[in-house]
């Protein structure tokens, strides 16, 4: 990682976002969330609580689920960042999205990108999770609409379809 030569001023940082190399001008302590939304226009990543409790700002950093509100952008410099927009072309992700649609797992939509990211991360690590594992995998993502049941069912359905292929 490199540093900003002038400490507190904005500087140029190279990021890899959804497979593309992008140079942004930002403060090192800018939150990755704000850079994604404000600088890059990737507004699929939502801000909920802003303190790592709700999961609305989930993204994948080198394939690992993280809350982008807790990441200074400087720490994301050498990582491969994937946002909800970058998953569109992934067939396993499309399956998950379909299951969410069919089973009513999305209502107001604020938590949905984060839920999908957390579910995608879970299914990548554990293609056939138990219901308990699904609940644990999504425990960091809060939803105030659905009551969670439909979301858990959608992830289970996507996992089942994934193995059926």
């Amino acid at each position: 990682m490199s540093d900003c030569p002038q400490g507190r001023s904005k500087c140029e940082m190279a990021l890899r976002v959804n497979g593309e190399r992008i140079v942004v001008r930002a403060y090192p302590m800018d939150r990755l969330l704000d850079v994604l939304r404000g600088e890059l226009g990737l507004t699929g990543t939502k801000e909920g609580c802003g303190e790592g409790e709700c999961g609305a700002c989930s993204v994948l950093l080198d394939g690992t689920l993280v809350n982008s509100c807790l990441i200074p952008v400087l720490q994301a410099q050498d990582a491969e960042i994937r946002t909800i927009e970058g998953l569109r072309s992934d067939s396993r992700f499309q399956e998950l999205q379909e299951a969410f649609l069919e089973l009513g797992a999305a209502q107001c939509g604020i938590c949905t990108p984060g839920m999908l990211l957390a579910a995608f991360h879970l299914l990548t690590k554990k293609p056939q999770p138990t219901i308990e594992e699904i609940r644990e995998g999504l425990a960091g993502n809060l939803c105030r609409c659905t009551g969670y049941q439909q979301i858990v069912e959608a992830v289970a359905e996507a996992a089942w379809r994934g193995t059926a292929v």
């Binding site: 400490g7 001023s9 403060y27 802003g50 303190e51 720490q75 644990e136 425990a139 960091g140």
Partner: protein, 292 residues
């Protein structure tokens, strides 16, 4: 009020020696930030006193687990996920991955580090009672070299530790001698996930012929620091577990805690639950309901 990122300096020297030399130039002047699960929360709330931060996230020297014949050395930069996924940690120090599984959701477990939990020094730190029970040692490092300190005396008072201003925790050392112990860990909080403990327990015991040969009981959120319940241990050690002993241990443990009333619970509740958790541990131990 929310902080302005332009008011803060953040550098990432990239190697441990470079970080240590920066810390030595201005002891106490730089706040190390690893996964940010505590520091960034304070920052977002505009409550971070430090203005100069140095990133220690993913430093290779801190992100490894070394398995030696007599001990394992867990790099301070290892995440809760690293702990949960490590075979030797899971097999020989099971209380630690259990505690790691309580901490936040998966996203925070992917970023929060064992060293951060130690240095942040919250009395509610989930992994800390387990480290007390295993009598961990810490390797502290500065530009002048390393020193080893027992974890049981690392916390001095509420959020005060023995860490010197230009020092970092480099690793947590655990002796590999608990194969004959039975462990028990339980967190009591308002909900199962994403909640800070009201009380949490990590305990170990070794039985021989029905007698408690050795026992270690540690608790979080019941004192200004993670607490070893030495008096409770003393009355149980060398005894057979029977109902009167369980009741005595329950009362002793409740009296030995030093909890407070705060936003998450009350002192009275915490002391009562602390006693109950000890009784639960001893009950399971005598019933043979704990797997090694």
């Amino acid at each position: 009020m929310r902080a302005h990122p332009g008011d803060y300096e953040l550098v990432a020297p990239g190697t441990l020696p470079a970080v240590l030399s920066l810390l030595a130039q201005e002891p106490g002047g730089w706040l190390p930030i690893a996964g940010g699960t505590d520091v960034m929360v304070q920052y977002a709330a505009g409550e971070l006193p430090a203005r100069k931060l140095v990133s220690i996230w993913n430093l290779p020297e801190l992100r490894r687990i070394e398995v030696l014949p007599n001990e394992i050395q867990i790099g301070a930069g290892c995440t809760y996920t690293d702990l949960r996924e490590h075979e030797v940690v899971s097999r020989e120090f099971a209380l630690l991955p259990i505690a790691a599984s309580w901490t936040g959701g998966i996203a925070n477990q992917n970023r929060g580090t064992i060293g951060g939990n130690i240095v942040n020094a919250s009395p509610a730190g989930d992994s800390l009672p387990a480290l007390m029970a295993y009598e961990a040692e810490l390797i502290l490092v500065s530009i002048r070299g390393e020193r080893r300190v027992p974890y049981t005396s690392f916390h001095i008072d509420y959020r005060k530790t023995r860490l010197a201003p230009a020092e970092l925790v480099r690793a947590v050392c655990l002796e590999r001698r608990f194969s004959e112990y039975q462990g028990y860990a339980r967190k009591v909080g308002p909900r199962r996930a994403q909640a800070i403990s009201k009380v949490c327990l990590a305990a170990l015991a070794r039985l021989g012929d029905g007698v408690v040969e050795d026992i270690r009981i540690a608790m979080g959120s019941v004192a200004p620091v993670p607490l070893r319940l030495r008096e409770t241990e003393r009355i149980v050690r060398g005894q057979r577990i029977d109902p009167p002993l369980v009741q005595l241990a329950r009362r002793t443990a409740a009296a030995e805690t030093r909890p407070i009333d705060d936003i998450r619970s009350t002192a009275r509740y915490r002391a009562a639950v602390g006693g109950n958790l000890v009784a639960e541990f001893l009950g399971r131990l005598s019933a043979g309901k704990i797997k090694g």
